[in-house]
Structure formats: structure tokens, C-alpha cells
């Protein structure tokens, strides 16, 4: 995928991933980039997150993003803070910008010192170009495929996105990176005013395992090279790209064979709609049922019930792939047909709470033996 105008990117192998795959990626703005940033709420947040928050608070534009995948550089004490700064300094040197113009991002194993010497050795080897694919490949960890999305804007500008996900994925940022790039011109203040709401409606509605990571972040960068666009178009495109990436992240959850899409309508508030949708998408019992093609809607109702959202089970309606299963009481349905409908790569559940006019989506993946296998054997 072609980068928007004003951006260059590249990647290389630094030897951080046991697989030997590319694991160090650079994104470069030919000029100053307006940006907005949301990061993990985890109190054990990694140095890259702490530093990113500082950079964000400075309100200064950025020039670059450096990402390593393979080592989260979290829980690494003072040495980790120094390593993170070192990564920024090395990237700045490579690109001819100032270290405080470089955002850092790390993902991978927690608690292992980040070998900055390998990053130093590898950075000069990165060739910057106009394709996003090498960057998208290099930021992956246990993901099985790169995650890219784009939406064109009127006038030739574009919104392009790249993400990584896979495990430790849960609202309020998971081991999830979502980076959106645009060559539209936006005031940084406007970006910052609306970006968190886009993240809340998309990336924060993805749940793979309920574990909120120490390192996650979602950021948007605008080069402005194509000039201003109508804000309505722009935010629609940004939301579409972020939603597309969120779905890709859920579909590629660790060990996943299916994407679960949950739509809750009729909620008493937006908060209720979101928490109810997340509870269903995150219910281990429902995730296991989806894996087993088991239309066990009782688990959906149970998850709605403990989500905290206002509801009365006598008024709730649940549909699975368009098949009504429950409407205040169990409905008769063809179990074979419902089980067959669940054999798709994407399983959609819809719940109407009949409490009000708010709705939300959430995405998760099925729970499989593969998830257990991947996570029982991660470091040893």
C-alpha cells in the first residue's frame, strides 16, 4: 500500500524476534506531522508509553515513529527508560531530526532488557520508501498477517492505516498498535479533540483475552501535503479505517479461527451499548461456543447481564446471523441451521436491549485450543 504524500517508511531485521523476521520499523514525515495519541491505561505502562505521553503533552509536532517488535521493553526498570530514549536518539540520528521529534513504540516480551546495540546496528540498514508493507510486516508479533486499510478522500488525499494485534488485546488498549496516516491537512488541536472518540468506537471495542497490555497505543499523523478536506468526510474516513483495522485485529486474535462481531442496539446510553457489546465479544464461554458452532445464546444473555448495562431479560432480543434466538423468552429455532450459520469466518450477534436509542459494536475472536497453545509456550 502506497503511503500518503509526505510520508516515507521502511523496516529491517534487528534480531529481536526469535523468528529472525523483520522487527524494526521507521515512519518518517518529510515535514512536521500534526498528531494525536491514545495509549494504554495500564499502570505498569512501558517507557515508550510514558515518553509518548510526554511528547503528546508538549503539543509539538512529530517527525518520526520508530517501532520495534519482539521486545516490549516493559518492566525493565531504569535501564528500560534509558533504552527507550536510546532508541529515539538512534532513530533521530538516522533520520536527521531531533530525538524529541521521534515517537517510540515497543511490543513483545515483557521484562527482558531491550538490546539497544542491535537497534543501533540495524537502523542504518533501513531503506525508506513509499510503500507501507515492510513497516506493516515488521511491527507484527504473534499476528499471522499484516493489517492495512485505506479510504480515499475527496480531492486526492487519503487516510491509510496499519495495525498489529494478536494477544493481550482488550479495551483501553491491548497489545495493539494502530497508526493512521493522512496527507490531509488538519489542525493538531482538531485531531486531538476527535481522535480519542474514534479510538473508543473502534480499537477500544476489540477484545481478545481481557488482558490490557503495558504498551498499546493508537495514533494518527497528518502531513498536510494534500491540503484541507471537509471535516465530515475526513472523520468518516478515519473511523472507517480504524474500524477496518479493529476488525482485522480481532479476526487475527491468537489462535482465532473466526471473527465475532457484536452489535448492541437499544441501549440506555452509549456507555451501556459499548460495555454490553464488549462483554459479549469478550465472554470466554461465548467465544468457546462460537469456536464449537454452538448457538448457545444463553451465554450471550448472561454476558449482557453482567456487563453492567441496564437491561431487563424479559425485554432483550438476541439474533445470531439474522436468526432470532431469544425475545424475552427462548424462541424455537432450527439448531442445525444456526450451527451451520456459525461455520463462517465471521459470526455476527445482535442484541436489542430495548432500553433506549444507543448502539455500539464490538469485536472479538473465538477461543480455541490454539490460543492456549500459543500462550502456554510464549517465553520458554
Amino acid at each position: 500500500m502506497e503511503l500518503p504524500l509526505g510520508f516515507l517508511a521502511g523496516a529491517t531485521r534487528a534480531g529481536l524476534k526469535p523468528s529472525g523476521n523483520p522487527d524494526l520499523a521507521l515512519l518518517y514525515g518529510e515535514g512536521p506531522l500534526a498528531w494525536a495519541y491514545v495509549a494504554t491505561t495500564n499502570r505498569a505502562a512501558a517507557p515508550c508509553v510514558l515518553r509518548g505521553r510526554q511528547r503528546h503533552a508538549s503539543e509539538a509536532p512529530l517527525r518520526a515513529l520508530v517501532v520495534n517488535a519482539g521486545n516490549a521493553n516493559a518492566a525493565t526498570g531504569e535501564a528500560g527508560v534509558a533504552a527507550d530514549l536510546g532508541m529515539a536518539e538512534l532513530a533521530a540520528e538516522r533520520l536527521g531530526v531531533r530525538p524529541d521529534e521521534v515517537l517510540t513504540a515497543s511490543t513483545g516480551v515483557i521484562g527482558v532488557p531491550l538490546p539497544v546495540d542491535r537497534i543501533a546496528a540495524a537502523l542504518p540498514g533501513i531503506r525508506l520508501g513509499s510503500s507501507l508493507e515492510p513497516f506493516a510486516e515488521a511491527i507484527l508479533t504473534t499476528d499471522t498477517r499484516p493489517k492495512l486499510a485505506e479510504v480515499p478522500l475527496p480531492g486526492g488525499a487519503r487516510v491509510v492505516g496499519v495495525a498489529k494485534g494478536s494477544g493481550m488485546i482488550h479495551p483501553n488498549m491491548a497489545t495493539m498498535f494502530g497508526f493512521l496516516l493522512t496527507d490531509a491537512a488538519l489542525d493538531q488541536a482538531e485531531l486531538r479533540a476527535r481522535w480519542p472518540e474514534v479510538v473508543n468506537a473502534t480499537f477500544n471495542q476489540v477484545t481478545v483475552d481481557g488482558d490490557t497490555s503495558t504498551n498499546d497505543m493508537a495514533a494518527i499523523f497528518a502531513s498536510g501535503a494534500k491540503g484541507r478536506v471537509e471535516p465530515g468526510f475526513f472523520w468518516e474516513a478515519v473511523t472507517a479505517v480504524a474500524r477496518d483495522l479493529a476488525r482485522q485485529i480481532a479476526a487475527d486474535g491468537e489462535g482465532a479461527t473466526k471473527l465475532i462481531e457484536v452489535r448492541v442496539v437499544g441501549a440506555a446510553s452509549l456507555t451501556d451499548a459499548r460495555r454490553a457489546a464488549r462483554a459479549v465479544a469478550g465472554s470466554l464461554l461465548w467465544k468457546a461456543a462460537v469456536y464449537g458452532n454452538d448457538p448457545n445464546w444463553g451465554r450471550v444473555l448472561a454476558a449482557l447481564g453482567y456487563s453492567g448495562a441496564l437491561l431487563d431479560p424479559a425485554r432483550v432480543r438476541i439474533e445470531l446471523e439474522g436468526i432470532p434466538l431469544y425475545d424475552g423468552a427462548p424462541l424455537p429455532f432450527d439448531r442445525e441451521e444456526a450451527a451451520r450459520a456459525m461455520q463462517r469466518a465471521e459470526v455476527r450477534v445482535r442484541a436489542d436491549l430495548r432500553q433506549g436509542g444507543f448502539e455500539a459494536e464490538a469485536w472479538g475472536s473465538d477461543l480455541t485450543e490454539g490460543y492456549v497453545k500459543i500462550n502456554a509456550e510464549y517465553t520458554t
Copy 2:
């Protein structure tokens, strides 16, 4: 296990479990029983829970408890409410007490009408006796073993407990029943004043899969047959029995091969200590690591970090089976030795937050392929 004085119990087969095992259990008080009750916070709570809350609010003593295992009678609409009342009426008739003196409890599949006719047909066949074992067997669902505990009191009275657990286990009541029985004499007001705190420290600190069920309850019944005991002894015994049962429930989580015991000390508040311990015990990533004998303490720190408890990762200390792994920064440790220490049936983690003087325990189980298998194939 012998029942405390003043209680009788028994069980039979009503044909609610596909296995054909006993699934209908009665507990009978020879006189009025003082009691206290805590039940699920799930908004889709089953009729037995709604009825139990009404009985509790009436402040009247009880005479009996009837439990069916195999059908949760949840999400069954108006018919479910009638079925629950029917079960109480039938049990009352069998025992010669009033229906409003009978507490009901159901567990099993959600959304399938409860066949009251089978309960009617089976109830006369229950022979009441002084042993708790038949009751303990009959209330199980996917549990692999009955859960019993007892502690003697000075003067010959006893506290005896029986529980079932297995899946959908999470704080604020899971598919968990915990019933404690004593022949000590306690004012009902005193029982009710202190029982919720016992539940918070024990049953509500168990997490198997994060799914809070529609049906769970924890209750204590006192016959008074052995007279009054010193309250200090009594509540210590009650807490010990409830803790023992909580550990048994966690150890027998669906697909579990190990019990995970988490102890958090040095928390800024009791709430912080409990939520931090629960977050670790409930982290899928840590549960999978325990299954794989992987001393990946980074996942413990990450869970503490997202628990919401006040902490600074630079001050946290983490020990696994007594081996220090992290103390503000990673500590060198023998990975082989740590992996060997994890091969026990019980894996203990201890975290010191160094924020204050509060501590708590939580219990969970490892996450295995077996959990996925059980829950992917539950109803179909």
C-alpha cells in the same frame, strides 16, 4: 461428611443431567434456620435468585433448600418463574413445610425450560439422612469432584460447607454455589451483618473465566442445635470453610490442571488488594503461562497494572513459589528451577505493591485446551 445437628439432606436422579447422575438435592432443617444469602449481580439473574432475594428480604427463617443441577432455569421467561415456584412448592410438600420456607437453587444450561414434572416425580424418592455426600454429588455440573469442608468449634458445634463450581466462575458470584451449615446458634441479624464480608474475601475472590453467572449464590444456615459459641471462633471457622471451598472450586475449574493462588500484600486499600489479586488470578495470559510452566512474570506485572490498583512498577516485587523474579526491575533467576516449581498442583504467586498495609488472596486455575474443549461442546 456428617451434617451438623438439626440438618438432614438427601438427593436423587430427576433426569436433568445428560449423564444420568443424581441432580436433585434437598437440605432440610428440623427447626427454623437462621440464614444469610448473597447472590449474583448479573442483571439476567435466574428466577431462583430473584425469589431468593425476596425470601431474604422477608427476614423470615428458612426450613429447606432444594437444588437442581442440569438446568439453570435462567432466561426462560415467565414459564421459568412459574417453574421455580413450582420447585419450591413441590419441595415444601415433600417436607411438610410452607413454600415460602424453601430456598431454590438451579444450575446448568441456560434458556431451556425446567421440566418441573421430572422434579415432581423424583422428589418423593429422596431419602433424607445425616450425610452430606449425596447432596454434594447431586449439585455438581461439570465439576469433577464434590467439594466439602468442615471446621469444629469449641463446645462440639461445627461449621460444614458444600460447594459446586467449575465454569462461568468469576467474582460477584459465578456458577458457584457455596452453602455453609452450622449447628451453632447465631442471631440471623448477626449472620447477615457479617456473611457478605466472608463471601467477599473468599468466594468472590475466585475466578475461572471472568463470566459471572446468572444463578450463583452463597448462603449460610444455622440450626442453633448446639447453642451459642464465641463469635470470634465462629467467624474464623466460617471464613476457613468458605476459603477452603473457594480453593476447591478454583482447583476444579473447567479443564484445570492446577490451582493458582495469588497473594497481594502492601496494597493501598483492601479494595486494591482484592482487585489486584483477582486480576492476576484471572489473567488468561498468566493462566496459560501457568499451564505451560512458564515463569513469565511480566504477565503478572501487566495484570497488576491493569487491575486498577494503585502501584508504581518501580516498587513492585513479585515472587513465584518463593522465588523472587522482579523487584522494581527484573531479577536474575534460574528459569529451569522456576519452571520446575510451577509443575505443582498449586502455584503460588505473591506480589508486594509497597503502597500500604492491605492484603488479599485470590484463586484461579490454569487455562488449558481442556477448558476450550468443554465449553465448545456444552450444549450441542
